[in-house]
Amino acid sequence: MSDTVHADDEEGPVTSDQLRLIGTPFRRVDGRAKVTGQTRFADDLSFPRMVHMKLVRSTVPHAKIVSIDTSKASAMPGVVGLLTGDSMPDPFGILPVSQDEHALCIDKVRFVGDPVVAVAALTEDQAHEAALAVEVEYQSLETIATVEEAIATPEPRIHEYGDEGNLHKKLSMEFGDVDAGFEEADQIFEDVMYFEGNTPLPMEQHATVALTEETDRITVYSSTQTPHYLHRSLAKVLGLPAARIRVIACPNGGGFGGKSDPFNHEICAAKMALALGRPVKICLTREEVFYCHRGRHPVLMKIRTGVKKDGTLTAQHLQTALDGGAYGSYGVASTYYTGALQTVTYDLPKYRFESIRAFTNKAPCGPKRGHGTPQPRFAFEVHLDKIAHQLGIDPAALRMQQLVKPDSITSNWLKVGSMGLGKCIEAVVEGSGWHQRHGKMPEGRGLGLACGSYLSGAGLPIYWNHMPQSGVQLKLDRSGGVALFCGETEIGQGSDSVIAAITAEILGIDLKDIRLCVADTDLTPVDLGSYSSRVTLMAGNAAIEAAERARTLVARGAARKLDVPARELVFADGRVFHGENPDHGISFQEAVVEAESRFGTLGTTGSYTPPRSPGRYRGAGVGPSPAYSYSAAVVEAEVDRETGIYRIEHVWMAHDVGKCINPAMVMGQIEGSVYMGLGEAMMEEQVYRRLPKKRSDALVHKHPSMLEYKSLTFAEMPPVTSYIIEDPDPNGPFGAKEVGQGPLLPMMPAVANAIFDAVGVRIDQVPIAPHMVKQAIEAKEKGKPGRFGPKSFPEIDFGVPLLVPTPAEGGDGKAINIEDAGVRDGTGTMTERKDAVKGDN
């Protein structure tokens, strides 16, 4: 071996754009396990001496707990443990600013399904029987079913905190001189729209298994999208150091945002295991999954837009009112999200956004797929369709003429990078024959167009810190195998495959030579979780950094052996060789042996922190993302005028994913989003009713079952023509942006717009039921407005708006009236104000 100067060259090879694996439809790394039944979901786990837990849930929607009698239950056969709320007094919640949940309710219950007692028994049947034997006496309080009732009923308060009465959150912000913007307009359009709540409905019911290792050390397996946040909540409520708690997120049988909160059952299982010293399992029933909810907020919206004759938007004023359900959950973030992304598709030079979130006595709402953005997107895209129609401008042209420019900053200070919406619109317009067919089809047939955009991960974590949002560690050794450690959570979206493929690409090895260890808070570096479409971009970038560092080490080892400068080596096909002379090389394994011989035990890390966003006002923490995805859809509908029954005949969907890591997986996300969006447009709704007064006046879920909660089956899913648009973003790994949520957004408005094109009536709410279409048609026939939808938006005092000059007005990203608006400085929105002020955000 000759020791040349090359061997000490510290520069490794550069990742080329000659990709071998990225961009190909490789089989998912977990594909085989999933088709053979080998994937171990949380409920598939069992351990010796494991006992089963059930929760006793509130049967009333709002009440003081007068007494709890567990004496009968504790005497039942097989019962080994009982817990009530006083054993876990510390509150928890996903956002630092709304720590308002208790593992078991202490003084009061807030919705039907709120957990009060936990029972453990030797068998699940025994636990079930014992749960039925627990007696809880309640003293009912007035219930609040809607935002309007919450406004009208400040007392009794559902929670003792919140901006006012039963309003959890109130906000008002104004970007630029909005009144001046309206004055520039030739016409002002106004609409009131409603988006009903709906639920994530993952096929897997939530399950948790907890087991102790020491008196004060515990492992919790759970079907959670966010093991890191669960870890934090467990530490808080159990009062154990976080280092003594290990959370392992099992692969989730679907999440869609519904497994993103820390849940009561997870904390109770851990507490019960610590109390009993034996493994404890709980698997929720489907009915309980409907009670856990954390799905789409019902949102009432008023949208006003100033428009010039040529269709140019001059200003928008958006008001939203969210029905939050009984707890905070992600609600503060959701509230901001019902306004934050209105600006990233079409130029909106001035923008005012006001919102409230109300507490109501229903299952808490949270971050379902699209988190707070599908509702205002529905309003905006239907509103634009009306504007286009009235002005006699083609809806596609109206959008194309004012697309947000790539590499620009919006009026609310969001930094847009790559922007492929124009290409998306062109693809679906051409593919659907829009110009030949829109507005020209026989009565009863119509085409509707709509667009959308979504985050590739949120710019800020939900608790303020300066640490990475995602981390990857690699371990390499003389076997030639690579172990990849990452906190990311596989929920079906394919995140395991994404980080494995990125690592395999850079090291030039086979996917099968990578062993993954993920979502284990003891063993894997922190990743914040599978939410906000963040994993491909954030864990992907962390994987790139870790893999490039590993490649440099291995290259330096091989360089000495091959007598070639490290930076001239190529890693491909399981070999390391000289780029100019591919025959001159060694196997990857031999190269690792060289590196291990030279440097000792090999390991590298990579981490990712998003770039800082230019917004500096309070609230600027919600909306920024390293990259925005874009989508456009055209939907073709056939409507029967007699019955209002409609069918979706075809969907054309184009999505700008930046760059495909795996096109087959991208297609799966597109088709899955189209499916779920159609469900929301046509039928899915999480709704409640009051039982008659004589039967308790309770506010109950209308249909907590899969049979009655309607969702699309094989039979209702229409054909979909999907176009993958690749407009790479410099912030994405290999240019990749998100695809898991974005393509859902255009679906709801596209359906409403297609129905208008078919029969000339406007349905200003979703889901769109046939009777709504029929009523609107009948109204139109009688000479009334052919519309079905909410009549008005309530009078709400949103407070003094926070004034933020736009970039075009020469602003610096800060608000100019923080004293008047009564808010503190800083961008944080989800942290306690005092903490936000402490941080330098």
Binding site: P25, V35, T36, G37, D44, A427, E430, P663, E671, V720
Partner: protein, 183 residues
Amino acid sequence: MSQQSTTRTLRVNGEPQQVAFAVHHSLLEVLREELGLTGTKHGCELGECGTCTVLIDGKPVLSCLELAAECEGRSIETVEGMMQGNELHPLQSCFADLGAAQCGYCTPGILLAAQALLAENDSPTRDQIVEALSGNLCRCTGYHKILEAIEWAAAQLRGDDQYQPPDSAIYGDPLPGKQAADV
């Protein structure tokens, strides 16, 4: 509820197994909890979602609605029995290769329902597949890839090695008209 137990011999994936269980337990519970065959999943345990589908005497059955005690003497097939040695069944490999299993939770039930269909009809039309699977919900895929994977597997099982799933299922549709020209 009575905890009375019974012992039966169940024939699962061709193997007779003597198993004791509470008489009122469903086949789903006995497969998962007594026999450790957790490949069979559940989404409702009320007969609403199709996730727990297994085959009994070749016919798809919702195992959450079937009393295990009534399954003696019948042939029960679960996802664990689909592989042929260490090789995937064509339905399994086509699902894995096309990405027809995302979270994979609905997958075992759908694979078995599809297997039953293909045993009766080796060249089902799209409509026949849709009909056969309309009781199985999937929240992830939007169903298309599942249909394409079944059509591909059907071709393989018929010995048609020429058949390939459409490129559009993997790469999306070719960009239309003038956009295609730019690419």
